[in-house]
Symmetry: C2
């Protein structure tokens, strides 16, 4: 660590879900990827872009993509910004919209990348506990002067959605920058993106990694007042979204039929998974996402995680208060869910 700066030395490393080398031997329900592949229309659009033109830089502001974002989600093209995954959006937010002597706040439990990124950018933050039902405690976010807050809608890892009325009341009083991370929102449809028209300090982020089945392509979108969008454009790298990623995201937004199919299939499978777990003695938090957060009445979650892994099934287990007795399980295909349930039943029988 001889040449690491003070921030790099002191930050906590973000730990993504396991990606073992012999990944093909596992049923992988640990990183919330979509169970269904992108459609032929989407793959064909990317393949078509894969030409000699790859020698040329991409459109620096992904202008065709941001246009179709406006057509699909409302607002104007000037309210959209494209990035190399939501990760890059968060990184740019910490670098451009909060100063190092200011304070941020995030819910706990929530997506731990927020804490990591805040540390990586030298920004101090408070963790504000979710209420007992895992809803956001908006009042506590108003008790100090926070320059940046991030709400995850629906929340990762609990699956609970943001309460719209609660958010609006909060935004009417709050003076800093508020981010609503909607990586998983398409599985509920309860988006806050229209509130960008009413609040010039609101940034809503979207991802193509979940409902659009393009985790391998890396595209994230921010929606915000055009003044904030101009800030993103000023601080970003010149060509941050490559040609193939732009083409894939454009085709994904156009292909509404396959989008609707994937979302409804996942939601059907989620209901089946939740009901089956009920029968096995689990209590599952109502989920608006493509994953569930569940705990068993008598069996320790870490034990279950380990036994499942021994049987080549990966789910996510987090250490920490209120997390350690839960499992976060991605909603897989019906084949994956049935294989998972079969193994789970035999583990429970053995214990």
């Amino acid at each position: 660590m001889k040449y690491w700066n003070s921030t790099l030395k002191s930050m906590t490393e973000y730990i993504p879900g396991e990606q073992p080398e012999d990944i093909d031997e596992y049923i992988k329900l640990n990183t919330n990827e979509n169970a269904f592949p992108p459609s032929a229309d989407i793959l064909n659009a990317i393949t078509k872009e894969c030409s000699g033109n790859l020698r040329l830089y991409p459109n620096p502001d992904a202008e065709t993509l941001t246009k179709i974002c406006a057509d699909t989600w409302g607002l104007s093209q000037s309210n959209y910004f494209a990035a190399n995954g939501s990760d890059e959006l968060f990184s740019l937010i910490f670098r451009g919209f909060i100063d190092r002597d200011q304070l941020a706040a995030f819910s706990y439990p929530s997506y731990s990348l927020y804490y990591t990124m805040s540390e990586a950018n030298g920004i101090a933050y408070d963790k504000i506990d979710l209420k007992d039902d895992f809803s956001i405690d908006f009042a506590k976010f108003l008790k100090k002067k926070y320059a940046l807050v991030i709400f995850c809608n629906p929340n990762n890892p609990t699956g609970t959605g943001v309460n719209r009325e609660g958010l609006i009341k909060f935004l009417e009083k709050y003076k800093g920058v508020a981010v609503v991370d909607e990586a998983y929102v398409d599985f509920s449809g309860n988006s806050m993106i229209d509130l960008v028209n009413s609040f010039d300090n609101l940034i809503v982020t979207r991802s193509f990694s979940k409902s659009y089945s393009l985790a391998g392509l890396r595209v994230g979108i921010a929606a915000a007042h055009r003044d904030i969008i101009e800030g993103f454009k000023k601080i970003k790298d010149s060509y941050n979204v490559d040609r193939l990623a732009q083409a894939g995201a454009i085709a994904a937004l156009k292909d509404k039929k396959s989008f609707n199919y994937r979302v409804s299939m996942i939601n059907n499978n989620k209901d089946y998974l939740t009901e089956s777990l009920d029968e096995l003695g689990f209590k599952t938090v109502p989920s608006e996402a493509n994953f569930i957060f569940t705990n068993h009445s008598s069996i320790d979650a870490k034990t279950l995680y380990e036994k499942l892994k021994e049987n080549k099934i990966l789910v996510r287990h987090f250490d920490g208060p209120r997390l350690s007795n839960y499992l976060r399980i991605t909603v897989g295909s019906m084949i994956e869910i049935k294989a998972f349930l079969k193994v789970l039943r035999s583990i429970i029988d053995e214990i």
Copy 2:
């Protein structure tokens, strides 16, 4: 700029080369893209990766790619790190390897992105003038305590290479982090990458946007001591290089035949372009890159730039001391060069 932080407000925006909307009507010699497309082998490898697996996250550390970097350029796999273009490498370097109370230094004239990125990350810097022959004034980089220096090899926009002996003598005395940006080095072959074995404070960066004809794909590579590589991995976004970009870069490194073809064609065309400009009264700086830096004995560079643009030919003109009377011209295909020269002759005849 209501919600912009102090850094975002005060930084100077980076201005990339023009990308006009009716780009297909232009001969584009302004952003140093490769005149030749990637080979069929490279395009086929990307197309093959364009499958249902795009629903899954990419390998977070691009492990197959870094392995083949070591096979191609020497050093070990643990000495390599992959990013979303060189731009992301520089961004990570400013965020991870220099503190905000430390000082950076870059040559002038050089790639202006260094100045922009330094400002975007709140790092103060000195500009150190190149010598009269556009070589680096290493002694001046030792006069103060700099925590970070970047040398561009060969230098953009002058095309001049880094002197190897001068660099070694510098590194023997220098205590901070030294970056050698080798985006264009394949056109000369004068790489400093082997010096990573001798100096644990040296980072050499490479790009797939120039010699590998993949500007549209966004892949950059850093080579450094494994301790620095571990720092990059800690601070980077989880999945920063997408599946298709990894596949394209891997195929590009394997396809040595098309690489050699592109490099030799560009160098041949560069000689022809330089000689033709000599005959028209230009004086061109000897170039180790895929662009030339040239000025005319009597005609103002900005006038030439504007007249060329009127004729749908884009070259690069920079304002600023020692820059404003030069044009930077990308070495195009022979068809592009001949069309450019024809227009240029008629402009000169008219003046």
